[in-house]
Symmetry: C2
Subunit: 232 residues, 2 copies
DNA sequence: AGGTGTGAACACTTTCACAGCA
DNA sequence: TGCTGTGAAAGTGTTCACACCT
């Protein structure tokens, strides 16, 4: 945490080089958003301005420039950013397009839905193995991918050189699964179980909790009279 | 936005009374988390301390107290908070247990998974109608709930007195659906389409974007060497 | 002792505003 | 003129530390 107290600062090298500054969560989410806009809207070529990106992502031009400037300065003053170059840089910054290999834990309702969710694959996250405890499911195939029992987890992770796990098992089984998968060598976890999960340092966790989002909505609605402002 | 510049302050009345202070998103998420812990862990009765809640939700005791104090002071010094009372208060604060009536837009992969996602129902969000454009799906039933065509949307919303909509349609159809559903009278939207959607003031939106979460994970992983700290 | 409620300090994020370059 | 890059200012959220109650 107190690494890099004094920073070599100003590395105008490749964006692949680890920028040592702490990048905030909100910045990362916005980078992802910018990339989506670039791929979709600024699809052709030419340049795109911070204002354009801001308008399509619901933020301000200054915010966009601040976010991008963290990783170096590669805009053309008076013009904006070269769209394809920026997209490429963002992908490199975020480690996309490397073909992450993913194991899906839990082939229940959410699990299967996620498995067939084409956006994951489209963005370079390949679910190459599925694990489920249900003996009825084990051995069956999901779109060509075999379902393994938990006992074969670490073997599977090693064989397929898997780096990421998606946890889609019931809440009470989540921590156990996380421990197993981390022991097997996985370094990142996308958690769909509504529980705080614990991982050793060096393992990244990102939690998705849809009930929490619905409840946040309920909260906003309950006090809609007091505060009329909408937001993303 | 500039309503309530001077606040009547210190309303020790019911927590139902609109507290005029702005409550941050992170606070709302934490409240939801506290409630889940109370229901699960402090299931019996007795009192629960801020430290206990903090430990199970990955925050600090001071943070818990700050969050709760926004809505009045109802802890017992030296004891903590009475678990069932606190749970009830949180539910009231967040507008839960009122039985929100929800329409699901899109009966595709994500849509159907969400429909069968029991946690929504368990927490008082009832999907009472489903809408899909596919003529093959229209008329069929999902677990007893009929699938309507978009033309019958506003009629359906009115008939069932629906307050919330879940958007689970393809990204390019999302804004159109949102407009329709808002016109029909819905005041809150849970959006699963990966697009910034626009709503008139007074309508609450909460977006869920799993690809963004995966990309955030990818980002963390890509720079795992620089920053070893794990988080929720 | 043990635990709440809260002002004040601190840390982090966003916005402003403008110099600098094409 | 148009738009980037960035210090400085403003705004928000979190942590500290302690008075106060049981």
């Amino acid at each position: 945490m107190t690494l890099f107290t004094s920073i070599p600062d100003d590395m105008y090298t490749s964006s692949l080089a680890a920028v040592s500054r702490k990048v905030s969560d909100s910045t990362v989410r916005r980078l992802s958003h910018y990339l989506r806009v670039l791929e979709l809207h600024g699809a052709g070529q030419g340049t795109v301005s911070s204002r354009h990106l801001a308008e399509h992502t619901g933020t301000t031009a200054a915010q966009v420039r601040k976010d991008l400037s963290i990783f170096g300065s590669f805009g053309k003053r008076g013009q904006g950013y070269e769209a394809t170059e920026l997209a490429g840089r963002l992908r490199r910054i975020m480690g996309l397009g490397l073909g992450w290999r993913v194991v899906l834990l839990g082939a229940g309702r959410i699990g299967s839905a996620l498995f067939e969710y084409t956006d994951f694959r489209a963005r370079g996250f390949d679910i190459v193995a599925v694990v489920d405890t249900d003996p009825e499911k084990v051995g069956r195939r999901l779109n060509g991918v075999e379902i393994f029992p938990p006992e074969r987890l670490s073997e599977t992770v090693r064989e397929h050189d898997i780096q990421l796990a998606i946890i889609a098992v019931p809440a009470n089984a989540a921590q156990e699964m996380v421990d197993a998968v981390v022991a097997a060598g996985v370094r990142g976890i996308l958690n769909f179980a509504p529980r705080k999960i614990r991982v050793p340092a060096g393992v990244a966790v990102q939690s998705v909790n849809m009930v929490m989002d619905l409840e946040a909505l309920s909260f906003k609605l309950s006090r809609a009279d007091a505060d009329p402002g909408p937001a993303e």
